[in-house]
């Protein structure tokens, strides 16, 4: 019952990330996926090492979205090769 609710949230947010209009909205939806995936990992592995993996996964996913948000400001407009 618990994992099913979280799974439906994850799939809806993934589709919204794919179909979003601009890039910052994509980043906010990606954050929700990080939250709910670490919750599913904690609920699925019911041992102390599961909690350690959930904490590590959450902190590293936050670190990568921090780097992405920093380089969003650095790269103002992207020049693409035709």
């Amino acid at each position: 019952m618990l994992i099913e609710i979280l799974g439906i949230i994850v799939i809806i947010m993934a589709l919204r990330t794919l179909l979003a209009q601009n890039r910052e909205e994509r980043l906010l939806c990606l954050n929700v996926i990080g939250f709910s995936m670490s919750a599913i990992i904690g609920l699925y592995i019911q041992t102390p090492f599961g909690a350690i993996i959930a904490i590590t996964f959450f902190v590293t996913s936050t670190l990568s979205s921090n780097a992405i948000a920093y380089s969003l400001g650095r790269v103002k407009e992207e020049i693409m090769v035709k």
């Binding site: 939250f35 919750a39 041992t47 909690a51 959450f58 670190l63 979205s65 948000a69």
Partner: protein
């Protein structure tokens, strides 16, 4: 206790927990890192509030009281009620310092949700209700309707005296 009712009550409790602690620790006041400012400007351009945008950007860019609430609930579920929350507070502190943040909001959120889980376990709440409730609470802020949520957060920041001075 009924499962659905417990999840909804836990969602309301954890929403108030992390929003009040984050606002009190000054997240809407200024962008802590550079990425948060870009997200706030983008929210403002789409018709939202600037202070609420800074709040959402700070949640994305470093683990704050929201992350403390979720991780302390997970650790209380898998390790045990008082010990798991304390271990999660230490790990959240190191994660905060890795992301260039002082780390007050994360540890305060983790310790307060540990106390709440310990007190509500006497009336039948389980820690897994708080895990699902926290994901539902973060969904209402970041996922469903972002500009409306930023306007609500801005109004709350103005009421608590933490409104941003940057225009």
């Amino acid at each position: 206790m009924n499962e659905i009712l417990g999840i909804i009550l836990a969602a309301i409790i954890s929403w108030f927990n992390f929003v009040l602690i984050d606002t009190w620790m000054g997240l809407p006041e200024s962008p802590g890192v550079k990425g948060a400012e870009i997200i706030g400007r983008s929210i403002q351009k789409r018709g939202g509030n600037l202070a609420g945008g800074f709040f959402q950007g700070n949640i994305v860019c470093s683990p704050d009281a929201s992350a403390g609430t979720l991780l302390a609930s997970i650790a209380c579920f898998t390790i045990g009620t008082p010990e798991g929350g304390l271990i999660a507070a230490v790990l959240v502190y190191f994660g905060n310092r890795l992301c260039a943040d002082p780390g007050y909001a994360g540890t305060t959120g983790a310790l307060s949700i540990t106390a709440i889980i310990y007190l509500t376990s006497f009336i039948g709440f389980k820690p897994e209700f708080f895990i699902v409730g926290m994901v539902l609470a973060i969904l209402t802020i970041q996922g469903l309707y972002q500009t409306g949520a930023s306007r609500l957060l801005g109004k709350l920041a103005q009421k608590m005296g933490r409104y941003t001075k940057i225009s």
